[in-house]
Symmetry: C2
């Protein structure tokens, strides 16, 4: 064995486990597979919806000819049915590796055949080929790793048994990495799903709709992006903002749903929703909940210090609170509620501008207004219908047996 192979193998485990982005990781695995087997081309297909979907690929010939970007773009959207006739389909079904010296010389009675369409289209010649199943923890095939044309200088040679072993090891690592990413993704999704559902549920008693919660989150993301929040901070704000009014759970119906103007005493109780929200969320270490707490507490502060509950001024108000203030007011003005129609754009803009430097952070407001067309698109995408306002009307039509299903 080449001593370089030893060094490479030592590197791989570390290198792979330190990559968090799945596409980067798969690409890295392919590049190791290429280096260790001297293959001209390498691809990964994953099984999705009963098809083999092309995920990443590297090909030295095309990289030289077209450059990396064009190669990747060209081969981006490609999928295959899973049938025993194709090489990758055969491997996906049988879970057995195929090591073929020359795909052009497969006997006609063979179960599988090489489809030369691709080669003809792109003027490429595949000769030796190694197709390896990617097995997950439970030995289920989740995809295949394919290597094309083992090279010795300019000559195409067959893949060796050592190549098979090395590639099997790499493909298992890829499979497990894919699974880990999937698990992490599912957990994250579950977390965010919970936040959104419970936030929506708690807005139930209020005059707000499900879409209000979603729109405010989207406006916040838009604004955070524009004012230069990092990708991570933007995402956290997006998921923290739905809980901004969670403290309204502590406000009695008689005040929360009162049609007329509140008495000073009622107003005081109503304003406490900021503090109660922060109380519900206090002492959590989770980043999203920490940000939610800060937003709950500060989204009614005003830039000139006349807001509540603390009368904070300017930059004393955390950026997240200043952003939700703009998003929340914009949404209240620009969308229909059960008790009012949506306000015309010009009036909305006037009110926002009147609040510049008084209610709202002037720089953030300018930024928001600069991108108001994008905000309008969000508004339209999540617009409310009459049904959204009458939240309990549909309870009678529900199929309870559907709700009982465990799947």
């Amino acid at each position: 064995m080449n001593p370089d192979v030893f060094e490479k193998l030592l590197e791989i485990g570390t290198a792979l486990s330190s990559v968090h982005d799945l596409d980067l990781l798969l690409d890295k695995i392919l590049s190791y597979a290429q280096v260790l087997t001297n293959a001209d081309g390498a691809s990964i297909y994953l099984i999705e919806n009963n098809k083999l979907v092309f995920k990443v690929s590297r090909n030295n010939t095309f990289f030289k000819q077209w450059g990396e970007a064009k190669t990747r773009e060209t081969f981006k959207s490609f999928e295959l049915p899973i049938t025993k006739e194709s090489l990758s389909g055969y491997v996906a079904i049988t879970a057995h590796p195929l090591n073929i010296k020359d795909v052009g010389q497969l006997p006609p009675e063979s179960d599988y055949h090489y489809d030369p369409t691709f080669d003809k289209k792109y003027n490429y010649k595949a000769v030796s080929m190694l197709v390896i199943p990617m097995l997950d923890n439970e030995d289920k095939v989740i995809g295949v790793l394919q290597l094309i044309n083992a090279m010795e200088g300019e000559k195409i040679i067959p893949f060796t048994d050592e190549h098979v072993k090395i590639t099997c090891s790499l493909s298992s690592q890829a499979a497990v990495a894919i699974q880990n990413t999937k698990f992490a993704g599912q957990l994250k999704e579950a977390h965010y799903d919970t936040i959104l559902r419970l936030s929506i549920a708690s807005a139930y008693r209020d005059k707000e709709t499900t879409n209000h919660i979603k729109r405010v989150a989207e406006y916040c993301r838009l604004l955070a992006n524009k004012v230069g929040f990092s990708k991570e901070d933007t995402e956290i704000l997006f998921w923290a903002s739905p809980m901004h009014d969670i403290g309204k759970l502590g406000v009695p119906d008689a005040i929360l749903q009162k049609p007329g103007i509140l008495t000073p005493e009622e107003r005081k109780t109503m304003e406490k929703h900021t503090i109660m929200g922060a109380m519900v969320l206090k002492d959590s270490k989770a980043k999203v909940l920490v940000t939610s707490r800060i937003i709950a507490l500060t989204h009614h502060e005003k830039y000139d210090g006349t807001g509540y509950p603390q009368g904070l001024k300017g930059n004393e108000i955390p950026a997240e609170g200043r952003m939700v203030a703009i998003a929340d007011v914009y949404d209240a003005l620009s969308s229909k509620r059960c008790y009012k129609e949506a306000m015309p754009d010009q009036e909305v803009l006037k009110i926002l501008n009147d609040g510049r430097g008084k209610h709202f952070d002037p720089d953030m407001l300018d930024m928001f207004i600069a991108y108001i067309q994008e905000a309008k698109k969000i508004k339209e995408f999540y617009s409310d219908t009459d049904k959204d306002f009458d939240k309990l009307s549909s309870l009678g039509e529900i199929n309870l047996m559907e709700l009982l299903k465990n799947d």
Copy 2:
């Protein structure tokens, strides 16, 4: 290089990435390190609270002498201050590996020294030693991996440069695995923290306390354990149960908080909280939320079919719903509420038994009563004080600046 080493290295990446339990994983990494370097002993220390805390260890000599269980038990709780004097402390501070031929022959002017206390106490003799820093993605030391006594038959020999390379690769993989586990743990914690907080918040308007939510979850865990739920299903039930009354958000204060007896019409509205809860949670793919939905919908069904909303009978009621029914009623009877005292144990038991086969699943009830002493311990641990009932009383004393902190 030994061809076995090549085979082992191919195995490792796959083997490591398929282990999800962190302790098992670290143990596996140590066993690979032992096999690849022929070391008698191997340990991992992690940095926690500015100390080196002993996590896992393997030692062939002690395994032979005492067996694995006793060895692990003996060396379980062990920690070291991080100072340059000790070998592991030196490596933790400098991030440089140490490969020492004979720890007994270190020159007195050396920066670091070997502490023979352990050897004397357990009649062991450490000679050659390899101490490798465990570096995370950002090259920060998170712990050290220590190998003791490279063996050649019965003879202790020094560790080689190849051993250093192999062990560095393994220790990086361990470090990254530890980090991945930590990330996954944090995300899970964030998810569950959110469920609990929002469930508690939504019980705010009700006569329930924070502790009620926690007690019901604990009773469910106890019962699920006893009726043979898997560890995973038990955990899911534990985290799904807090949301059982989430649909009460759709019940007006006038009904939810009415002191007297409800009119038939009010009762009908009240009973809708089961359906509304299921509606809030419908269409989620997250396991916890699916279980929550089923619990929300079915926790007021009765075993004899006289419950609501569907009048399901016996095993038509999902097991989770039957368990929450017992837990919820037991808690309502046995604990104090703002409007009533706790009921004496004998009366509680009588009411539960009267409901056997009528309200409650008879087998589950028998099981719960068989372990009633454990339930009582839970009740005492999460018992309510007067302060717990007066949820808004403390709002005046809150330090708002504390709630504003972002850390």
